[in-house]
């Protein structure tokens, strides 16, 4: 018996673009995505051509100067976002697909399947992420597919757990039990009743997870086990231009700033979306 104290109208959640941090992060994220799509078309020079002396100071020809191999830093920055965001993005999506299915099945079936799946997740969680990626690199060398799948696998346990919790919570709700009593098919119940209600926590968790993917891609590239030169990649640029930090600092600072801007604004945006759905990302993370 629950005391009837539920407010009649749930206060509609704070609209997304009302607070200034959200607005800024939204703008930054949109800008970066545009950069990834149109960047390659705007490059003043070919990003992989050696055009001038290495670590040259910014000049009219090279607004951000040149890097270790004399390539134009600006062109490489314009192109460098693609690999980080694409690999990070695809890995996160795959992680969600696999993790989501496991979480739904575990949350919905409960019983034996639930515990087996969750124990399996624990085994995956046993590996600190970078160690797992290094392990894969031992086997598959610099293959980007192995890197993408590796990062996806790292996300699977976390996603599975969130989706499982959300599914568990929703499956005891009245409207799901009514559907069960009606004998609706499982697929219908999942599609009509459960999935629409667990989008909130999943999206809220998406932001930080995408950031984690980007940082992992960056770290692996830094260790020289990811993207190969002469491809332009923000993380690789930081790694290969480190020795020139005193000569042309922009060759390291600009890509570093791009990664930071992307990850910070993503975190901020995800946080706002989470608040709109009533459970801030941190609380979400706590339950992980």
């Amino acid at each position: 018996m629950i005391a009837a104290s539920q407010p009649r109208l749930r206060r509609n959640s704070q609209t997304l673009t009302s607070s200034w941090p959200t607005r800024i992060s939204l703008v930054v994220v949109v800008l970066l995505l545009l950069l990834v799509i149109f960047g390659p078309l705007l490059t003043p020079h070919s990003p992989t051509a050696e055009l001038g002396p290495p670590f040259a100071r910014p000049s009219s020809a090279f607004p951000l100067g040149t890097d270790y191999a004399g390539e134009d830093v600006l062109s490489r920055v314009l192109v460098g976002g693609r690999s980080v965001i694409l690999i990070g993005g695809i890995a996160t999506v795959i992680g969600y697909l696999i993790g989501g299915v496991i979480g739904l099945v575990a949350g919905y079936q409960r019983g034996l399947t639930d515990s087996i799946l969750m124990r399996g997740m624990d085994a995956l969680l046993a590996f600190p992420p970078i160690i797992f990626l290094l392990l894969l690199a031992t086997g598959f060398g610099n293959s980007l597919t192995a890197l993408t799948l590796g990062i996806a696998l790292i996300h699977v346990p976390g996603v599975a757990r969130i989706v499982r919790t959300a599914a568990l919570e929703t499956s005891v709700r009245g409207y799901v039990e009514a559907a069960l009593a009606r004998g609706d098919r499982v697929r219908v119940i999942l599609r009509r009743e459960i999935l629409p209600n667990i989008w909130g926590p999943i999206v809220a968790d998406g932001g930080p997870r995408f950031t984690v993917s980007i940082l992992l891609v960056a770290a692996v590239n830094f260790l020289g086990l990811g993207i190969a030169p002469p491809n332009a990649d923000w993380a690789l640029m930081i790694s290969e231009n480190r020795s020139g930090l005193t000569l042309n600092p922009l060759s390291v600072l600009v890509p570093a700033f791009m990664i930071a801007a992307l990850t910070v604004s993503l975190n901020l945006l995800a946080d706002q979306i989470a608040r709109a759905h009533g459970s801030s990302v941190d609380v979400q993370a706590m339950r992980r």
Binding site: R119, D122, A123, L125, A126, F127, P128, P129, I130, I131, L134, L135, L136, A137, T138, G139, G141, T211, L215, A218, A219, F222, L223, G224, L225, A235, I238, S239, R242, L245, T246, V252, A256, I259, A260, L262, T263, V264, N267, L268, S280, D282, V283, A285, M286, R288
Partner: protein, 332 residues
């Protein structure tokens, strides 16, 4: 499960549940470690190319390579190889490094100590600061200190270790020349003999790690501060200081332990990168070298060690949480 075993389990569970629970969780942990070792072995054995090429390298004749393959037992079926490897690991013998022929355990032993010093150093610095900052911003939610701490921690989380490390090394090590930019120590001695070299690597690790703890801790504290029993305590006249300490924080303690255990997962990754940036002679740098040298036994040894270490830490964290939360402790 035979009847007697069931009876024993129930009796054990009845008399001291905590021990029974610890026993069960340790058994699961050991199982996990075995599973992890299987995954590590499988991942590394799936390699293109043959280990003998590695050792003899260039110039070796086919006959020499075949002879070495037999000598290392690499021609036996995978399961037998795994059996002997695991048997060795249990006795502390991780096999021989392909590149140098030295036993892997000596390679690991030297570097393990250094990495532990770095990890423990980072934890000692990181945890108190982030616990204080996390709690402060949680208790004073929405006030300036909260915005400041949350803002900074949000930015720090986004800064990869190799960026902050590089910048720190150049600024403090080279331009200001105040702190050693790399970890050079007298041969064979421990980093503690010259602690100055630890400052920059630990600072690099603290940036990312502490940001993570602060954000998670803040969420835990905010949730506790908004709880019913905190409001009841305030209505019973308990002074605010005591409300925060005895009621809110006491119950936010358990999630904090879990957060710290989670942070270790990132710390291990951070150490690998930080050791490479500062050329710190630890296990992380050793692992990167081994991976690029495709030195399988070294990779297997270090990975199993790190993964098992991490599983045990998780187990310890779970046990601490059980002890901290009365409800869990009594309902085992």
């Amino acid at each position: 499960m035979s009847a007697t075993a069931l009876k024993v389990r129930v009796k054990l569970r009845a008399r001291h549940p905590l021990v029974a629970y610890a026993f069960r969780r340790t058994a699961i942990a050991v199982l996990l470690i075995a599973l992890v070792s299987l995954i590590v072995f499988a991942a590394t054995e799936v390699l293109p190319g043959n280990a003998a090429d590695q050792i003899l390298g260039r110039g070796a004749t086919a006959a020499q390579k075949a002879q070495l393959t037999r000598q290392l037992g690499l021609d036996r079926p995978l399961l037998a190889q795994y059996g002997s490897w695991i048997f060795g690991v249990l006795h502390g013998d991780f096999g021989q490094s392909l590149a140098s022929g030295e036993p892997v355990s000596t390679f690991i032993a030297g570097r393990l100590g250094n990495s532990l010093i770095l990890a423990i150093g980072a934890l000692i610095v990181m945890i108190p600061i982030s616990v204080v900052l996390g709690t402060l911003s949680g208790v004073r939610r929405g006030r300036p200190v909260d915005h400041a701490v949350s803002g900074v921690s949000l930015a720090l989380i986004a800064l990869p270790e190799f960026v902050s490390g590089t910048i720190l090394a150049v600024v403090f090590g080279v331009t200001l020349a105040v702190l050693p930019p790399t970890s050079i120590i007298p041969v064979g001695s421990s980093p503690l003999t010259d602690p100055k070299i630890l400052i920059l690597p630990i600072l690099t690790l603290c940036f990312a790690g502490s940001a993570y703890i602060i954000r998670m801790l803040r969420a835990g504290v905010v949730e506790a501060m908004a709880s019913e029993y905190v409001q009841a305590a305030r209505l019973n006249g308990v002074p605010e200081g005591r409300v925060v300490r005895r009621h809110a924080l006491r119950n936010a303690l358990a999630p904090t332990v879990q957060v710290v255990a989670l942070t270790l997962q990132w710390l291990v990754g951070g150490i690998v990168v930080t050791e490479t940036v500062f050329a710190y002679p630890g296990l992380g740098q050793g692992l990167v070298q081994a991976v690029t040298a495709r030195d399988i036994p070294v990779v297997q040894g270090i990975t199993v060690l790190l993964a098992s270490f991490y599983i045990l830490v998780n187990l310890a964290a779970d046990m601490t949480v059980i002890i901290l939360v009365p409800k869990l402790r009594t309902e085992l």
